[in-house]
Subunit: 577 residues, 2 copies
């Protein structure tokens, strides 16, 4: 491959583009890899398309290596299969829907579980047809409320989605482990520093679930690690250790006037000032905050839900949504219509709504909380004595320093990452929905179980750019770089010709070469562009050409050395390993 910059569709930008809030987005725009074409939709320019294709190839190779078979479904699909699974309703506004000229309902598929399941139903009949791993690399659509970060969260994006179909739970685990290892190989080849974290499976249904997160400041996903063990989890999946059951007998519940204390801070200040319950060491963690939300059940109406969390924590709406999925929640605001819910003074005792409590609100724990009357709070409100939650819920904000749920001795640290892969043991949700049965080895019908394995291919471009850049520009890992070597003709005339000759020689040897043969462009601009574009090896054909030398620059280390032009092919090839 030989790309000449004199004819390449490329326009690098010196200025920071407006509306690009994350480094990868800014750099991919500035270096001419992508352009915005629509809200959440991007055009791949020639250099970007090369990187995208490299990543796709790596993903495909590793999927085939573990027995994956590639198929390709339409993106535009009729409604019916998504009604069977109830996802047409569950997704709601999050998917693009449309009608064809006959008025039939269609959607732009956000994922294809239904289609994979139907295909397997049509194409298999016996246990001999299993296990199966099917995948596709396909354009996906989601009507994101807030597209952000360029390729990080778009409305049209490229995904590799895969599903395993096995007959037993043991085979599912085996397929899962095989795909998990393939994913590790993929992300290693992509040069992505990543952490595998426990995750929730979200609206997909299913059980065991792990995310591959590329570590990045700009990541949307907050995940935790442990100071003492190898526990790592998406915050949605963090479980809160319940305190041991208390046997101490708390004094009876007392109600106090606490005027003008609608917030936890004002309540704690007043409680200490008045030594409520005989204490003046109240902290926010001793109070029980009760947050009212409206839960939206897809296709089944709304419900008022009250969530109790220790007063030193907020409710984390992402954790809450994950806990409620496929339902979603928004903050309740119709207090006028519910006089029993006294805003700022709600307590769980005698509450007339479903009440779910944080695991820390264990049986026997005593709390300072609302008395369900304006301007009044209660102390010694004991879980299991004065109120009994309808269940527990993981919805409280996870904080650095929280105890590790895995080892119990370490504490949690917080990091941010970009979700680049998600694998989980989906189970039989879809084979149940479509009643997929095949003949078992014992002659009886058996229902296959599924694993689900996704990689954000276009998002990976952004994740790599996010991890591999410096103040001068991008710096691609070799396996995904748009070229192996970037040759710069620093001067004119003979230097351009020599650069093109060398480029032709390298390309003939199988290398992918980008050569800057632009006329009327200064050497300084060419160097700046080369650093922005971010290919690891630059060969400068410059002032020592007459002596038969070119300069080899290493974009990573900054090293420069003069090398005989005739040695360049060997040196470059050797450096590629």
């Amino acid at each position: 491959m030989l790309l000449r910059m004199s004819t390449l569709l490329l326009r690098t930008l010196r200025e920071e583009p407006a509306d690009a809030e994350v480094p990868s987005h800014r750099l991919l725009l500035r270096a001419g890899y992508v352009r915005r074409a629509a809200p959440g939709g991007y055009t791949w320019l020639p250099l970007g398309k090369l990187v995208l294709d490299r990543i796709t190839t790596i993903v495909r190779e590793e999927m085939v290596a573990v027995g994956g078979q590639e198929v390709s479904f339409p993106a535009l699909l009729p409604r019916e299969p998504y009604d069977v699974s109830n996802r047409w309703t569950e997704y709601g506004d999050d998917i693009f829907t449309l009608k064809d000229r006959r008025g039939s309902d269609y959607l732009l598929a956000p994922t294809h579980e239904e289609m994979f399941t139907l295909l397997v139903q049509e194409m298999t009949s016996s246990y001999r047809d299993f296990p199966l791993v099917l995948f596709q690399v396909q354009t996906k659509y989601r009507d994101e409320a807030r597209p952000r970060g360029g390729l990080l969260r778009g409305r049209e994006f490229l995904m590799k989605d895969a599903y395993s179909f096995t007959l037993t739970d043991e085979e599912l685990v085996s397929a899962y482990e095989s795909l998990r290892a393939a994913y590790q190989r993929v992300f290693t080849r992509l040069g992505l520093q990543h952490t595998i974290v426990s995750a929730m499976s979200g609206a997909m249904g299913g059980s065991a679930s792990e995310e591959f997160l590329a570590t990045a400041e700009v990541g949307e996903d907050t995940f935790v690690g442990c100071t003492a063990c190898d526990y790592a989890a998406n915050t949605e999946a963090v479980t809160t250790p319940a305190p041991p059951a208390t046997t101490a007998t708390a004094p009876p519940l007392e109600v106090h006037d606490t005027p003008d204390t609608p917030t936890i801070a004002s309540l704690v200040e007043l409680a200490n000032a008045r030594a409520l319950g005989g204490r003046d060491d109240w902290t926010a963690a001793d109070t029980l905050k009760n947050v009212v939300v409206t839960v939206h059940h897809p296709g089944a109406g709304d419900e008022v839900l009250v969530i109790g969390v220790p007063g030193d924590r907020e409710v984390d709406l992402k954790r809450l949504d994950a806990a409620l999925a496929p339902a979603t929640a928004t903050l309740f605001d119709d207090f006028a219509g519910r006089p029993d819910l006294v805003k700022g003074y709600i307590g769980p005792q005698g509450i007339q709504a479903r009440y779910l409590a944080d695991p820390r609100v264990a049986a026997g724990t005593a709390w300072l909380t609302g008395a369900n009357e304006p301007g009044r709070h209660a102390v010694n409100v004991v879980a299991g004595r004065d109120f009994t939650p309808d269940g527990t819920i993981e919805a409280a904000l996870v904080l650095a320093g929280d105890p590790c749920p895995a080892c119990g001795s370490g504490t949690l640290t917080m990091r941010r990452g970009i979700e680049i892969g998600h694998i989980f043991q989906l189970g039989r949700r879809y084979t149940d929905a479509f009643k997929v049965d095949v003949l078992g080895a014992d002659g009886k019908p058996v229902r296959p179980t599924m694993g689900s394995y996704g990689i954000g291919v276009s998002r990976a471009v952004a994740a790599i750019a996010e991890q591999h850049n410096d103040e001068r520009g991008l710096l691609w890992p070799d396996e995904v770089a748009p070229a192996d070597v970037h040759i710069v003709a620093a001067g004119k005339d003979g230097q351009v010709e020599a650069a093109l000759t060398l480029a032709g020689e390298l390309a003939a040897g199988g290398l992918r070469v980008l050569v800057d043969d632009r006329p009327n462009i200064s050497a300084g601009v060419k160097f700046t562009d080369a650093e922005l574009i971010g290919i690891a090896r630059t060969v400068v054909i410059g002032r020592r050409l007459g002596e038969g030398y070119a300069e080899l620059r290493d974009r990573r280390t900054g090293d420069r050395k003069d090398v005989p032009v005739s040695d360049i092919p060997g040196v470059i090839t050797a450096s590629l390993g």
Copy 2:
């Protein structure tokens, strides 16, 4: 590549599938290349995906070889650019449109002229940036009223679309010739017998236009050739030679009672029986048939139009639509509301609607036609004397035996083909719409002109299947076959192992191998499946394995010969050239 049929997602069908009306569709379904997933939407199964990828690779290689640069646009696009070009309105029901969660209008792009033009506007500024050839291989959408033929006419399909941007008409011609040659190389490599025919550019606008048609009985496009010269044209593009102007003076117009003659046949019979105008040799070609249509102008309402054609011809609605594009026409049916248009007895003399005539209705020609009164016709109705058309139109059906418009001495023959490519000199329709100007060499602004070049990639799969099959199944040309060789383990035990060993050896040597290692499947079924799947070379590991021999079968010639197993790699490699 090594594909084992024991694990491959494949189920061949013995029975003809219902609803598959053309051979390619039937065979691609039966041999397990595709499955229907939606109206006009197909799922690529593993074997089909391999063929599709082979074709894509060939197209890409030939595009890059002529300097094409690959980009990729979103398929889901906002309405605005398509309003600028007026195509949002022109396409009407033919495209899929939708609204996002904010109520903004989007479309699933049928083609991307607007986006290519906007990209060039953003990425170029000077004559130095030209010429440019940009292409993409992308999923396209059209809300076809009548999807048919499986992959031949779908609603979601894979296209390679390319545009050249040049500054002068000469450079456009040069780019056009270069792409035309590239297309010839593509279709030759794909093994497609094809004819390049003159065509109309349709709703795209533009001038010079040629289609690449793969010869096939089931093709939707009728095209003509000449018995004497190399003229070839889509019927829409055929021009009708006008007869020389007549100087003979026809007698005056006479009106006759012609009761119960609403059809041409009944009129001719009566005219001869009564010797109207003193003749009894009337034929349908002497009559002038006047067909009323409603023309739908996109965004600008409807118009009644009358079309005059010799009575021995029908109006061809495809030719009519091509002549009226971007407007479309349907047969007029509101005669009750237009008493001036007397159904069955319409004549062009004094007509109160726009009237366009076939070129054969030349000045001085005399006709037997309606008298605009029920049950009456007129003879000696002379064009230019008794009526003057508002213009000519090419809407009459083209018939075998018509004179060739190119050489004048030959006559036309009719064939059918599948449109696999379309190239045309688009001109400045889109650069005008978006006001694209760049700095010219003389310091003045210059507006680029465009060429448009499309290949139906998924349709090519069907076209190849249509041309390459026999009664036993498909028979792929080597360059697009899903594998280079198909190894059949005819028996059990040692034969399966030997087949897998050979397959591994061939795959290690770079060949793409499909091996039928299915247990519990008879040799006969395996042979039948191999012929259905259609890979040119089959190696049978069978009864002579003990002597060290395998049988090599040539799917094309039917030749079979025994070859030492150790010679197979060399023989296969040599046969691939």
